[in-house]
Amino acid sequence: MENQFFVDSGHLSKEALIKKHELENNPDARKNHMEYLPGMEQIKSGVMEQVISQMKNYDYHKYTSKDVKAALSKETCTIEDFAALLSPAAEPYLEEMAQRAQRETGKHFGNTVYMFTPLYIANYCENYCVYCGFNCYNNIHRMKLNMEQLEHEMKVIAKSNMEEILILTGESHSMSDIEYIGEACKLAGKYFRMVGLEIYPVNTKEYRYLHECGADYITVFQETYDSDKYETLHLLGHKRVWPYRFDAQERALMGGMRGVAFSALLGLSDFRKDAFATGLHAYYLQRKYPRAEISLSCPRLRPIVNNDKINPLDVGERQLCQVICAYRIFLPFAGITVSSRESASFRDGIMKIAATKVSAGVSTGVGDHEEKYSGKEMEAQAGDEQFEISDSRSFDTMYQDIEGKGLQPVLNDYLYV
């Protein structure tokens, strides 16, 4: 079974529709996704080759329950053990995996769970990624917050007591340029203790500039590590260039960022291979940059505006839990974020096992925090959302729920130095 991603908006011009269909139906009409565009920095890393060759050779059907049991009995989880833990043979051992994962989490993080909230500052996008609500052919209300609006949003969020913010934009170099994002970071520094960014990949010197503006963590979702599959999902725009995206975390670290986050969007491709590659990507980069603070996100596909049928296919909650436990056992020191894409009950459960960071008070729209937090009706229309969330708990509710589980909510554990 596959997702039906293609939706034609009645608002598109005839020419736009022709181009859209051409991109969708004719692979030759698309640019080479492995070729860098002018201005894109190429670093000689070597990490990509390591990850991709191992992912390609990963045959998860060859692992047996014996391999899984061996992996769980070892003190240090090797790459082979990680491969076994992600295999179908490990599914019957989910409870054992969860118990081991919980012990590892406890050793490295105690009972703490960090809280943050995303802030979408613009939803303009120049890419056609077929599963994303922001894609350039999707008919949504577009918006970019000006500095005054931005400050208002930040004040509303800060009033809820949130101390860590993740600033996001759609991937538009022209509408959300680096200076704009940098100014947003500076402003965020006034209201929050920690500022992270999830924006389009940029060059080392731009990461350095953003770091100087106060951002210290960079999240880039690779979406899928299968570049052939990636090519069929990201049909147009900068984001189509797969290898440039792959090296984004390394450029961010070279630019002085303290931490980087990795992720595959589970449900786009073969989730076991994608999870395997995500873990290896983080593993190899940590070996190369031992000072880097590494974290992983674990998103699954969600419905979007104008296409409510999109779903994560074969990645059920059990599979997601398996992936997260395998991540934890393989990379016990890594932060693991579970976003509001998942239900409250799933997040409550996974926090006890392996998740160390959760969002709360979430909006994936642009400029609608006041309406969402206080119910105050807005004068202007907000920018539409990137995807539908599932867990809509507010800051206060989430804080209490974390405490209620015997865990300790942490709002900040960070200094910009």
């Binding site: 050793k107 703490t112 000072r291 709002l411 900040n412 960070y414 130095v417």
Partner: protein
């Protein structure tokens, strides 16, 4: 416990030889550490204190307890110095535990950078307690740099693996005139006891307590173990038979003059 047996650091006297580490914090842990383990010094990660009112650990620290802010998050000497100065500005006093890690996986201390930071901060009037990998040369450098104590790790932080570096800590105890405080990796009261018996001046622990099933009971166990080890050290260990028996006829019995 001998009332006259005091631990003196930076001119301050401590009767307790248990120091609560940072890392995994909760009100219950701090309560147990002070009430049940008798801790008079509590470590505080400055980066955890960098927060607004809702969960500021500074509010949790009971009066009369010496705060030991640490520089966790620092990746080099410069960052550690900045964090230490910030701690002083935040009102955390002039004690500081230097923690410098260039490794986010094992969190092993960087000895070279630690010596640099110690020298700068000692000159600025801080009471500097550096966390270090137990190396005699580094320990001597730390003494010369003005450290108030030396804090070697027993095993990787959070690992609860005990005195993996036993032989090297013993060398520091034998050769360094400052208090040697065993920090990181102590997972059981028996391990704390052993370190004290060897002559360590104090024990720092966190995870061992924080992850215990019954916090107050584990805190009491640590208190007793540390006291037992200390008393054994002060009493002077008795004869330990190396091969199961001692020769009853001395080999030198033939000597007449």
């Amino acid at each position: 416990m001998d009332k006259e047996d005091k631990l003196i650091i930076g001119g301050r006297e401590f009767h307790s030889r248990f120091i609560l580490g940072s890392g995994k914090y909760s009100m219950k842990l701090i309560e147990a550490a002070v009430k049940d383990a008798g801790a008079q010094m509590i470590t505080l990660a400055v980066r955890r204190a960098n927060t607004k009112e809702q969960e500021n650990i500074l509010d949790f620290i009971p009066e009369g307890v010496t705060l030991l802010p640490n520089t966790s998050g620092a990746r080099d000497a410069g960052e550690a110095v900045r964090i230490a100065r910030l701690a002083r500005e935040l009102g955390c006093g002039n004690f500081v535990k230097i923690e410098i890690m260039r490794d986010a996986k094992y969190l092993l201390p960087d000895n070279q950078e630690t010596v640099k930071a110690t020298e700068i901060l000692a000159k600025e009037g801080f009471v500097v307690m550096p966390y270090m990998y137990p190396d005699l040369n580094t320990a001597r450098d730390l003494v010369n740099a003005g450290a108030a104590a030396v804090m070697p790790l027993a095993s990787p932080i959070g690992s609860n693996k005990g005195l993996a570096t036993r032989e090297f800590i013993k060398i520091l105890i034998d050769e360094i005139d400052l208090p040697i405080i065993v920090d990181a990796g102590i997972g059981r009261p028996s391990q704390a006891c052993e370190a004290m018996e060897m002559g360590a001046a104090a024990i720092m622990a966190n995870t061992a307590l924080a992850t215990a099933g019954n916090l107050p009971l584990m805190a009491q166990a640590f208190k007793k173990a540390i006291e037992a080890g200390r008393n054994a050290y002060l009493a002077g260990l008795g004869r330990i038979l190396a091969r199961g028996a001692a020769a009853s006829d001395p080999l030198t019995g033939f000597l007449h003059d």
